[in-house]
Amino acid sequence: MERSGKGKDVGREGGFWDRHTPFIMLLPAVLAVMIVSVYPTLRTVGMSFFDKSLLSRKEPFIGLANYAEAFGKTELWLYICNTLFFAIVSLILGVALAMYVAVKLIKPLPGKGFFRAMFLTPWVTPPLVASFTWRILFSENFSPINSILLRLGWIKTPISFLNSTDVFLGFLSVPLLMLVIINVWSIFPFLMVMFIAGLQTVPAELYEAATMDGAGKIKQFWKITVPCIRPVIAVSILLELIWQFNNFNISYMVTSGGPLGRTKLLAVEVYQQAFTNFRYGYASAVSVIMMLVAAIPAVLYVRSSVKELQ
């Protein structure tokens, strides 16, 4: 079973069970993932070549027709742009905010634990609760944000954050930006935790030495902090990027993709095609497209992880 004789793998003697323990230990997780994740995914990919719908009993094979239909729709390009923008911008802002906070919360100043615990809360708030609340915060007439701005005299009439259908660059609208803000709020705790954990492993002597050499804070950050925790940053960014490509909750729960599809993401389109229109074949095709869109960072992630091993 072993490929090379190099290295001292523990466990070659012993009986059958003992010898195969490592393999058996893999089984529960691997089988579960194969059955519940890989198999349905393959089925979905297969389904994308059929005209499968709950509403008709026939399921003819139609080749790439679902894909052709999807790419023929101008809306799909809007959703792809929305999704890319949403994922990338919320990631950039999320990483910046998380790093800013993490660097502060690594310092041995009082209140460290309190702030860490507080900043974790968005992560453990069910998305539905967060979305309902943010929707009120971004409403025109019941929002405390508007109340404050009015009271300060900064605005004369309340802003309706989620109303505008005007677009820039062909897709970007104000409501989409609002969703990005909500998303930053909900993803930065995870990144913060990862960064703090990473920062804890950076030896303090490095900073001391740098200070002796007269390096400034910013220089220290770029010359010491970032290189030291580069693996953590890379992994978190790639994972989070993939997760955000697949993000469903914020768009679905806050705006349902409205107004007029301006905030619709690919995952919501898949959901609506599958569970509102029951066009499984078409929904499958869109979800395969979605996987392909996410494939670039995904391949990078897998490659970097595998490379690190070898």
Binding site: L55, E140, F275, F278
Partner: protein
């Protein structure tokens, strides 16, 4: 070091335990507070299981008529799916607890009900009709869609015999038949009924010197203009009118407008869409003009916009297309509005056309049931006059049963009067098409999409053409 980790584990367990007990405690205090609140004191829904809850029989309700005779279905269990209704879910649970308990006493059949939320109702029923999980009996809508989706062994059962037993089609309003009967076969027994009215703030009317509710579109615009306030830039600070559209969903309001200028969605055989007409264009024009031309109504494409909450907040004086439960919704959430809420039939283009659309929804039986006879018993009992009157009162909904709607509860109540009047002068809102749920799917079905685009400033002819094209692609 090892100690520290043990402590960590211990803490986690202790926290989890204290959380569990904490829940238990607050649960108890919740129930206590409930009895104090009094409003729905008979509803002991603080406790988890729906069985064994005793509803007080203080309300006017269906009395037991059956004696101690034999119970042929003793021990049979049925599942019953229903959507949520009314402004307080605990009232619905209490009402169902009572009705199912009475039914069990009478027949020995245990009905286990499940209340599904609206956001997943369509999806659940579609799956139920196409081989997914199905109840024995369910609260249906889009009946024709579901009937056509049904196959040999799953989906809705034809129950013409139940309709006969209950007195034939004249038992219900015409809308009831439109919804439940497909090509002469009945797939359900009509129960709830739904139509739309104009809800208005009486205090705003008084302050503006308006004495009666508008009856024509011109009057509506005039009244709304009197009630609307704008700032120096022409932005509305208080809107005279609001389409009852949440999250930019205009289709329902537009259906009523179409009826109000004499238009129809489809021809009589439901083979073709007919809204690409003068009336269709006029109604869409009216929809957008009130927002973009007369400036009396907010553009509500905003996902956070809800006409009803705006009304509660005093930002809106009239809601076009309010439903039966809205009055209670308003008063419960904004008690300061108590006494200021009134209803009137919706105005029409010239005052002579139909006032609004109406919907009826049936109770259907699924083919997958193991006990069709028991299921029929339950449908007959649930849809009987007494039970329906009781349910209507508890849930603040209207009824498809003619006799129930003739009850003084509906005809003499100030708020409900407008509904019973409109019920007699309305046309069907949902089209009996297989794909209706897709055509009218919110937010991106062709029809809602067309309405939203028109409000957003798109040319009406183009919008209609696009809509028809998309509908063609989906098929009907």
């Amino acid at each position: 070091m090892k100690h520290k980790k043990l402590v960590a584990w211990g803490m986690a367990v202790a926290l989890a335990a204290s959380l569990l007990s904490g829940c238990g405690k607050s649960d108890g205090s919740g129930s206590a507070a409930n009895t104090n609140a009094g409003q729905s004191a008979d509803a002991d829904t603080g406790s988890q299981d729906s069985t064994g809850t005793e509803a007080d029989a203080g309300t006017n309700s269906a009395e037991d008529t059956a004696g101690e005779g034999e119970k042929p279905y003793d021990g049979v269990e049925l599942t019953f799916w229903m959507q949520s209704y009314g402004s307080d879910p605990s009232i619905q649970r209490a009402a169902l607890d009572k009705v199912t308990a009475d039914f069990k006493e009478k027949t020995g059949i245990t009905v286990n009900y499940a209340i599904n939320d609206w956001s997943s109702a369509n999806q659940k029923l579609t799956l139920a009709c196409t081989g997914g999980e199905a109840p024995d009996v369910g609260d249906i809508f889009f009946t024709k869609s579901f009937a056509l989706m049904s196959s040999e062994d799953a989906g809705l059962m034809v129950i013409n015999d139940v309709i006969e037993d209950m007195g034939g089609e004249s038992t219900w309003l015409a809308a009831g038949k439109d919804e439940a009967c497909v090509d002469g076969d009945w797939y359900g027994v009509p129960w709830r009924f739904d139509t739309r009215v104009l809800l208005y703030n009486t205090e705003d009317f008084e302050n503006a010197g308006i004495t009666k509710a508008p009856e024509t579109w011109d009057e509506l615009i005039e009244v709304a203009q009197k009630l609307t306030e704008t700032d120096a830039n022409g932005n509305i600070t208080h809107a005279g009118l609001a389409w009852n559209s949440d999250m930019g969903r205009y289709d329902q309001a537009w259906f009523s407008m179409l009826a109000q200028c004499g238009g129809t969605m489809m021809n009589e055989d439901f083979t073709e869409f007919t809204f690409n007409s003068e009336a269709g264009k006029k109604s869409l024009q009216f929809l957008t003009d009130c927002i973009n031309k007369y400036n009396i109504c907010n553009n509500s494409l905003d996902a956070s916009y809800s006409a009803l909450t705006e009304f509660m907040g005093g930002n809106v004086s009239m809601i076009f297309g309010a439903t039966g439960e809205n009055k209670n919704d308003v008063i419960n959430a904004a008690p300061q509005m108590d006494g200021k809420v009134a209803s009137a039939p919706l105005p029409t283009a010239t005052g002579t056309e139909k006032n609004a659309i109406a919907f009826s929804a049936p109770i259907g039986i699924f083919k997958t049931t193991q006990n069709p006879e028991a299921a029929k018993e339950w449908v007959k009992y649930f849809c009987s006059e007494e039970v329906q009157l009781y349910m209507s009162q508890q849930l603040n909904i209207l009824n498809s049963n003619v006799k129930v709607m003739q009850d003084s509860y509906f005809t003499e109540d100030e708020w409900l009067k407008a509904f019973s009047e409109t019920a007699m002068n309305s046309q069907s809102g949902d089209m009996p098409l297989t794909t209706w749920s897709q055509l009218d799917a919110w937010p991106d079905g062709p029809i809602p999409n067309m309405c939203a685009k028109v409000v957003d400033g798109q040319d009406i002819d183009t919008a209609i053409a696009e809509c028809l094209e998309k509908m063609e692609a989906i098929g009907y």
